[in-house]
């Protein structure tokens, strides 16, 4: 673009104003990055949920258990490749502020059904051999410095008393959005030590042979336990994970609302700045038209300025967010893995360019319609 030098020179004309406008884009896109990462943290479980897994919970409430005997009956449903189960433990490590999720799981099947949790063979072996063994997620291990062989004491809140676990291994996620902020321990240890609820589990996880059969199998499972004391509600793992998020309120709506307000404000601020810039330069724009710059070319010049401001601010803001998010992730461990995915980064950048274009459009149209004679008379 031969006129780029003109665009660039115009941006440097009022350095403070340009810097402040770029700064407003930086702040907005920084906020966008943080909100997107937090949203990702809230939705992490739902986004990482396997398409080939169904969760079976008590139809009355998630917090009510299901009989352990359901496992064998579930295995007989056609189309099911495997069944595992888990129970929420809710223990406290040292202090209640140190919250992290703990689940009692079936040692034989859990990591088979959740093959997307990567566990070393030695870790798996140690988990099988020790009744008090536990597996900690990578981010949890980082958070508290847990390593293999450590002993983790927890104070039970549902099942009172002091519970101790030995770290058998550290699991990773096969995908970046996988949540590794939790701990899995053996259900037989819970079963042996707990004072009530014996013979029950929190929920079942069913692995399907063919994900396309999900609807049919969902109906079959709920039909199997209909009219029993423990009726079931079967849903895809994505819906199950999303229901957790919903318990905390409509986080997504809140984030979207904040984001929309910020970007609308940005649109007004930048639009106003561009309008002032065009008004100040109406004489120069008239000169450009006098020497032969077409109306469309003048429109493109103004739009290019707005887009360049937005692009620079957007890139800086997103880069800053990417830089800050690991720290935020450590500060908010209960949200799981916080990160900006490449598509989110691209979407943020596109949003910045879009807002820049929208903000520059009215002033650019004004510049395009500027009458040379009138503008020259005002000089």
């Amino acid at each position: 673009m031969k006129s780029f030098r003109l665009v660039w020179a115009n941006l440097r004309r009022k350095k403070v104003r340009t810097t402040l406008t770029i700064g407003s884009f930086t702040v907005a896109l920084f906020l966008f990055g943080l909100l997107a990462a937090i949203r990702m943290g809230f939705r992490g479980g739902a986004d990482a949920a396997g398409a080939d897994r169904l969760d079976v919970i008590n139809r009355v409430s998630l917090i009510l258990p299901l009989p352990l005997s359901y496992r064998d009956r579930l295995l007989k449903v056609p189309g099911i490749a495997g069944v595992t189960y888990a129970t929420w433990f809710g223990g406290v490590y040292q202090d209640e502020r140190n919250f992290f999720p703990q689940f009692a799981v079936d040692k034989d099947t859990w990591f088979d059904v959740y093959a997307d949790y990567v566990v070393s063979p030695e870790g798996r072996d140690a988990f099988m051999k020790d009744r008090q063994a536990c597996m900690v997620g990578r981010s949890l291990a980082k958070r508290f410095g847990f390593k293999v062989g450590d002993r983790i004491p927890l104070r039970g809140t549902i099942w009172a008393g002091s519970w101790e676990f030995n770290v058998a291994g550290v699991y990773d996620g096969s995908r970046p959005e996988a949540d590794t902020s939790g701990m899995f321990f053996r259900d037989d240890y819970l079963e042996e030590q707990r004072a009530f609820g014996k013979g029950t589990v929190g929920w079942y996880v069913v692995k399907l042979i063919n994900p396309d059969d999900a609807v049919q199998i969902t109906k079959a499972i709920d039909g199997l336990f209909a009219n029993s004391p423990f009726e079931t509600l079967t849903q895809t793992e994505k819906a199950f994970a999303a229901s957790f998020v919903k318990q905390m309120g409509n986080v997504e709506l809140l984030i979207m609302t904040i984001g929309s307000v910020v970007f609308f404000t940005l649109l007004l601020v930048t639009g106003n700045t561009m309008a002032i810039a065009v008004r100040e330069r109406s004489g120069e724009l008239a000169v450009l038209k006098t020497v032969g710059f077409s109306d469309v070319r003048v429109l493109r010049l103004i739009l290019a300025e707005a887009i360049l401001i937005a692009g620079q601010g957007g890139l800086i803001g997103l880069a800053l967010a990417k830089f800050v998010i690991p720290g935020l992730s450590r500060a908010l461990p209960m949200l799981g893995a916080l990160y900006i995915s490449p598509p989110t980064f691209v979407a943020g950048f596109a949003l910045a360019l879009g807002v820049g274009t929208a903000a520059g459009l009215l002033p650019a149209i004004g510049a395009m319609r500027l009458k040379v004679v009138d503008a020259l008379r005002r000089i």
């Binding site: 006129s3 003109l6 020179a9 004489g283 006098t290 020497v291 032969g292 710059f293 020259l376």
Partner: protein, 241 residues
């Protein structure tokens, strides 16, 4: 040869016929130009004089395709510009007209070189060709040593010389100068008029100039007086009408 009786032959470079321009201000209609005729041949140097509000700048704007008449026609080198669309007029202006304003109207954030290069950005010339053209234009106005200077680093006379270089860099058909010495001291004004004179005599440019300054106007071959929108008389100066 310059005529204002509308009887010129078809060979004139600029041919104006029955030109009318009216403005409406509130309920008032202002008749700025009334039935104006003009024929200017290639290589002529014409000065328009007259009191403020007589329509000199309006005439210049119409001749340069910056404004449209209420009625009448303007033909330049065979192209009737009063019939052109806005887009066509813009590209016609880029090819055929060089403007020189009283207040120079340089872009303050561009260097002298970049200001002169502006009209060439609309052409298909390569960067090297553009550089050559700009250097030639700046050499004609005697400013090759100031090409990297910004307008704020130049005197008024130097700024106007840059503006002249910008006007001639694309080798336009004719130059339109609106009070080119109006904002300059005597010495700088003379220098500017010397350059314009040279453009006519040595480079064969056709120049139409509007000025209040009799010393500037007397450089022209023909001086025309405009009063209340009417071209009153054609006076001989250095050459002959």
């Amino acid at each position: 040869m310059v005529r204002i009786d509308g009887k010129g032959n078809g060979a004139a470079l600029v041919r104006v016929r029955n030109l009318d321009k009216k403005y409406t201000r509130g309920n008032e209609e202002i008749h700025v130009l009334q039935g104006l005729n003009l024929d200017v041949d290639a290589g002529d140097f014409v000065a328009f004089m007259g009191p403020s509000g007589s329509g000199k700048t309006t005439l210049l704007n119409l001749l340069g395709g910056l404004d449209l008449p209420t009625s009448g026609s303007i033909t330049v080198a065979g192209d009737e510009i009063t019939r052109m669309s806005a887009g066509k007029l813009t590209s016609w202006r880029a090819r055929h007209v060089g403007f020189i304003f009283q207040l120079y109207n340089l872009i303050p954030v561009l260097t002298a070189f970049q200001n002169v290069e502006l009209p060439l950005l609309l052409t298909k010339l390569s960067k090297a060709e553009r550089r050559k053209h700009v250097e030639t234009a700046l050499a004609i106005v005697g400013l090759t040593d100031r090409m990297k200077h910004f307008p704020r680093q130049l005197s008024g006379g130097q700024e106007q010389r840059v503006a002249i270089a910008r006007a001639i860099v694309a080798d336009p058909t004719f130059l339109l100068c609106d009070e080119p010495t109006g904002d300059l001291d005597r010495r700088s004004a003379d220098e500017i008029m010397d350059i314009i004179d040279r453009l006519v005599k040595e480079h064969g440019k056709t120049v139409l100039i509007v000025s209040h300054d009799p010393r500037a106007a007397e450089r022209a071959r023909v001086v025309l007086h405009l009063d209340k929108g009417v071209l009153m008389e054609a006076a001989k100066a250095g050459g002959g009408a």
